[in-house]
């Protein structure tokens, strides 16, 4: 390695620190909440005070703490079967987060791979992949998912596959566009003109340059995936008892709005805060990583 190769590392590390210290308040709060959600995703079983499906018919529908009749034994109250709402919430959040992360990643990997393939191969490959993209975009996917889940029954594998198929076409379209335009950019042409193999051009130059917009797309898509999962579970078709997810809890709680509104409102609030935090983070990242989107 020659002296020329040494990147100015210390300086760049400093820039990162400086950026972190200048985070807007909203973004810090959102990032904090997402970290909390990730923590719950990993450690739900460790922190839950009760087993999430532990039934206690003596303590049914106790309200959450600030309300009259609440006990610290169940800080968020209990549901109609006396199950601890806090514990259920932790496990439900874990399920929802895991499914959404998995779904987002599946969709992203598939979409990005197909997008790359379409851009690289061109011709018939491109036509077929883009036709698939158009087809996927032209289908009411949520409704098809609903029908598949109803008819195929309660299968986790099917549910995950459906989540993975949700939104892949956006990644494919964006990746293809980015790769095509990056390849027409001077630097990619120039490196090719130096005698580099396509692999080098893609891995060393194009991928790092399009990573930003793709990450942004990931953050845009993630809240949508959460909403997709929770909506299906809310309708009773995604995650079904005995398992639980945020949408499923909300769907269950909906029947007790009059007597125990918190059964619906608390999980709803968690879903809302998650999507909101992710959107706030996504907006911030978008301005940081992809200035072309916001002039």
């Amino acid at each position: 390695m020659s002296a020329l190769d040494r990147p100015a590392l210390p300086a760049r590390r400093w820039v990162w620190l400086a950026t972190l210290s200048r985070l807007p308040v909203m973004v810090s709060v959102a990032a904090g909440f997402m970290l909390l959600m990730l923590f719950v995703t990993v450690f739900a079983q460790v922190i839950q005070p009760y087993a999430f499906d532990h039934v206690d018919l003596m303590n049914r529908m106790t309200p959450p703490v600030p309300l009259a009749g609440a006990t610290w034994a169940h800080p968020m109250g209990t549901d109609t079967l006396g199950r601890d709402l806090f514990s259920r919430l932790l496990v439900a959040a874990q399920t929802s987060m895991l499914l959404s992360i998995l779904g987002t990643c599946l969709g992203a990997v598939m979409g990005i791979a197909l997008g790359f393939l379409a851009a690289h191969k061109g011709g018939l490959w491109d036509e077929v992949i883009m036709a698939l993209v158009d087809f996927q975009a032209a289908m009411p996917w949520f409704i098809i998912a609903l029908a598949i889940l109803a008819f195929m029954g309660n299968s986790m594998a099917v549910f995950i596959a459906i989540m993975g198929l949700y939104g892949w076409e956006t990644y494919a379209r964006i990746t293809r566009g980015l790769v095509l335009s990056a390849r027409e950019q001077g630097y990619a042409l120039a490196v090719r003109g130096l005698g580099a193999k396509p692999r080098r051009v893609y891995l060393h130059h194009i991928l790092p340059n399009i990573a930003g917009p793709l990450i942004v797309q990931l953050t845009i898509n993630f809240p949508n995936t959460i909403l997709f999962e929770t909506s299906l579970s809310f309708l009773g078709l995604g995650i079904r008892p005995p398992m639980t997810s945020l949408g499923q809890m909300l769907g269950e709680g909906r029947d007790y709005l009059i007597n125990a509104w918190w059964l619906a409102v608390i999980p709803g609030l968690v879903i809302f805060l998650t999507t909101l935090s992710m959107s706030v983070l996504g907006d911030w990242l978008r301005v940081k990583l992809d200035p072309s989107l916001e002039t």
Partner: protein, 309 residues
């Protein structure tokens, strides 16, 4: 004219693919006789119904007869109540159209002007306020918003009915629920599209002519900025149909979405199939309409791509 024909052809191909997809997904996902008939019926009865519903033929034959029937407008018989599936679905269409139309109207009437204002007064308090509200708006899960509205306006304040349809009061909460997220998205797209257009050189030309702000925005910027917004609108119709199912369930709004959830629960194959085809058709049609509006808004599409002289 060629491009309209091409669009039409493309739409037909998409519809064909959707029909095929729907058929195979629904046929492969379970035997309706297992669900619909009581558990204790004997094999002979089961076979009788299989034959009656055409489920005993090879899949390929089922598929061709399914397509043939569709071409003749025959969507099959609802397994549950033994009437024409299309009729069952069609009866619900006006309700969903009313709900969706109101929501789109709300989204456009609120979202577009707010987006325009935010872009014109970019980085002002107005912009920041509108955009913050928009982030809240589209992060809000629509079933949660619906439940909150019911909790507040039906259960606490007791001013609006929590479910059903019939009067304008019934429409308010479902339409607001469905329209909010949509309005937020439209506001964001309008803003970014307007910001893009406002920085274009022709806006400076308009300024140098001495055109005032109102004129610049309404005559020069908006016609250009609305092109991508219209495109988004077309894409979002599908998303909205999904949300409509949830909203209708929350408010027990007797539209297609509600019918779908109950048909799905009872595995009424013909009705589910009919709904999916109808919704897919709606999406394809929406995209066609968008293409036409596109051509009307943008002369570059209308006149056809003549290479620059």
């Amino acid at each position: 004219m060629t491009w309209i024909l091409l669009k039409l052809l493309r739409a037909l191909v998409t519809m064909g693919l959707v029909l095929t997809f729907v058929f195979f997904v629904l046929r492969l996902s379970g035997d309706p006789t297992l669900v619909l008939l009581p558990d204790d019926v004997d094999q002979a009865t089961r076979e009788f119904y299989r034959a009656k519903w055409g489920l005993d033929a090879p899949l390929w034959e089922q598929y061709t007869s399914y397509l043939r029937a569709l071409l003749q407008g025959d969507f099959g018989i609802s397994f549950r109540n033994n009437i024409d599936a299309f009729q069952v679905v069609w009866d619900r269409v006006p309700k969903t159209a009313l709900l969706g139309g109101t929501a789109i109207a709300i989204a456009l009437l609120i979202g577009m002007p707010l987006g325009v204002l935010a872009a014109v007064y970019r980085d002002s308090w107005l912009d920041r306020t509108v955009m913050s509200i928009a982030v809240f708006g589209f992060s809000m899960p629509n079933f949660f918003l619906g439940i909150l509205l019911i909790l507040i306006f039906s259960l606490k304040l007791r001013v609006l009915p929590s479910s059903g349809s019939g009067t304008w009061a019934h429409l308010i909460m479902p339409a607001a629920t469905l329209g909010t997220g949509f309005a937020a998205q439209i506001a964001r797209y309008t803003r970014s599209s307007m910001i893009d257009v406002l920085s274009k050189p022709y806006m400076r030309t308009a300024r140098s002519k001495g055109a005032g702000l109102t004129r610049r925005v309404s005559q020069h910027a908006l016609p250009n900025a609305s092109v991508p917004v219209v495109t988004i609108l077309g894409i979002k119709v599908g998303e909205m149909l999904g949300w409509a199912v949830v909203t209708e369930t929350v408010f027990a709004w007797p539209g297609i979405g509600r019918l779908l959830t109950s048909a799905v629960a009872s595995r009424d194959l013909a009705v589910v199939q009919c709904i999916m085809i109808l919704l897919a058709f709606t999406m394809v049609a929406a995209n066609m309409v968008v293409d036409l509006v596109y051509g009307w808004l943008d002369p570059r599409v209308r006149v056809g791509a003549r290479a620059q002289a």
